[in-house]
């Protein structure tokens, strides 16, 4: 379970998050929506400790992410993250992209790591791309590679940072299909997304963030179709 309690985050004088409270239970899918610059992505980066926070705390299975004594490298093995710009490693083949972390972080031997990588690549539909370099693939394929790379660490949680925003429209579908698959397998996910229809379809809860505050949170269908907060209504009327 991920518990975000009164989190404040600023970059210098610029306040990004102004007191965020959010709970995500095991097996739940929560989508975070909101305009750009609202602090959605920053919130994700605070959950796996890539960003520090100024106030409040983030607990992952009871472990305080920002406590000095927390082993972040260990904790991050539990929390997978997929990025908007996919960040595939250009100097490694697809298979090496996925098998590297299991090998150097989890200490698996080369063969084990490759078997694991093959399994996850097949899972996301890249079973025929093992020896290809990422730059020879489409954005959608690279994003699925990034998902497989994360899954190979066998995380309990997945943080997805606008993972379809940088894709050509015709490639969005294949990535969303992969996410549907993960949801059906019971993966706990926090998605920052601009895909409202998708958010409504896959999420248990949707949180609307504006200026560093969760203005509205509720059951997915309700938030999209029948928002109670004026700001949510205004935002949705612009994007829908």
């Amino acid at each position: 379970m991920i518990q975000i309690q009164g989190v404040h985050k600023s970059f210098g004088a610029l306040k990004i998050l102004k007191g965020i409270d959010l709970e995500v239970n095991k097996g739940e899918v929560v989508s975070i929506i909101g305009g750009s610059g609202s602090g959605k992505s920053t919130l994700l980066y605070c959950i796996n400790g890539i960003e520090d926070i100024q106030k409040g705390r983030v607990l992952v299975d009871g472990v305080d992410v920002h406590d000095k004594s927390t082993n972040l490298n260990k904790l991050r093995q539990e929390i997978g993250m997929v990025f908007q710009q996919w960040n595939s490693f250009p100097h490694l083949t697809v298979l090496e992209n996925v098998s590297l972390a299991p090998r150097v972080v989890l200490g698996k031997n080369k063969k084990e790591a490759q078997e694991l990588a093959k399994h996850h690549l097949q899972h996301v539909g890249l079973g025929d791309k093992f020896d290809v370099f990422p730059t020879q693939m489409s954005g959608g394929q690279q994003q699925r590679l990034a998902i497989a790379r994360t899954l190979a660490m066998n995380p309990n949680y997945m943080l997805l940072d606008e993972i379809t925003s940088a894709l050509d429209p015709e490639l969005v579908g294949e990535v969303l299909d992969t996410l549907r698959l993960l949801r059906d397998e019971g993966m706990t996910m926090i998605c920052v997304t601009h895909e409202m229809a998708f958010a409504k379809e896959v999420s248990d809860q949707i949180a609307f963030v504006e200026e560093g505050i969760i203005e509205e949170i509720g059951e997915a269908k309700q938030v999209i179709e029948n928002p109670s907060n004026e700001k949510t209504k205004r935002f949705l009327s612009k994007v829908l």
């Binding site: 796996n48 890539i50 490298n73 260990k74 991050r76 093995q77 929390i79 997978g80 993250m81 990025f83 710009q85 960040n87 490693f89 250009p90 100097h91 590297l100 972390a101 150097v104 972080v105 370099f133 730059t135 020879q136 990034a146 790379r149 994360t150 660490m153």
Partner: protein
């Protein structure tokens, strides 16, 4: 017996020594310069402005002052201080530092070329800082600057000729002595030029091959 004797096969050993000494000091300077340049390049890419200013100024001196002046100044200076060094030692120290100064900028660019998000992606998989450096940032960055590294390495081979001024018996000094004896400057300098070409050309070809191989 005449004062000048023409070039003969007996000179082969002498010339060969010159060639080997040129290769020797070049390989040494390139190796030391690469290792030091990699370390200082890394420090430069992660340091604050003030540390960079100090480091940058020192490196600028090494890069801007002509190598021949550095060589003469250094070997004269250690002599005056009462610790004269053999030409090879002075030559290797200065040529290595000179190479280091250029390599530092090459590697610094390499580190800076890798977007921060690559490192973040590696860290998000649970890698430690040094693992993310070792497996992700370093290989990507080094690949991007390989052509510049090759350029510096090739120019060091040519620049090693200047070490002759402090008396190191490398290819150019060998040939100068032969010219004095034989009075055949044209043949000898042509031959020496050819040797620099023979040493450098395979390297530059190898560099182009590697570049092509790495450009995926």
């Amino acid at each position: 017996m005449s004062l000048f004797t023409p070039l003969s096969w007996n000179d082969t050993g002498f010339i060969l020594t010159g060639i080997l000494n040129t290769i020797y000091i070049s390989v040494l300077a390139i190796s030391v310069g690469t290792v030091l340049g990699l370390m200082i390049g890394f420090i430069r890419s992660v340091s604050t402005q003030s540390i960079n200013f100090v480091l940058g100024s020192i490196l600028d001196v090494l890069r801007i002052v002509p190598l021949i002046i550095q060589l003469i100044l250094f070997s004269t200076f250690v002599g005056i201080m009462g610790h004269p060094l053999p030409p090879f030692a002075s030559g290797s120290i200065i040529l290595s530092l000179y190479t280091m100064a250029f390599m530092t900028e090459v590697f610094r660019a390499g580190f800076d070329n890798v977007s921060k998000s690559m490192g973040i992606a590696a860290r998000s998989l649970g890698m430690t800082y040094w693992q993310s450096m070792r497996y992700i940032v370093l290989p990507i960055g080094m690949k991007s600057v390989f052509p510049s590294w090759m350029g510096v390495a090739l120019s060091v081979i040519k620049d090693s000729a200047l070490v002759s001024v402090i008396g190191y018996m490398e290819l150019l000094r060998t040939s100068e002595q032969l010219i004095t004896r034989t009075q055949q400057p044209l043949e000898i300098l042509l031959g020496v030029g050819l040797f620099y070409f023979i040493i450098s050309y395979p390297l530059s070809t190898f560099g182009r091959y590697m570049e092509k191989k790495m450009a995926i």
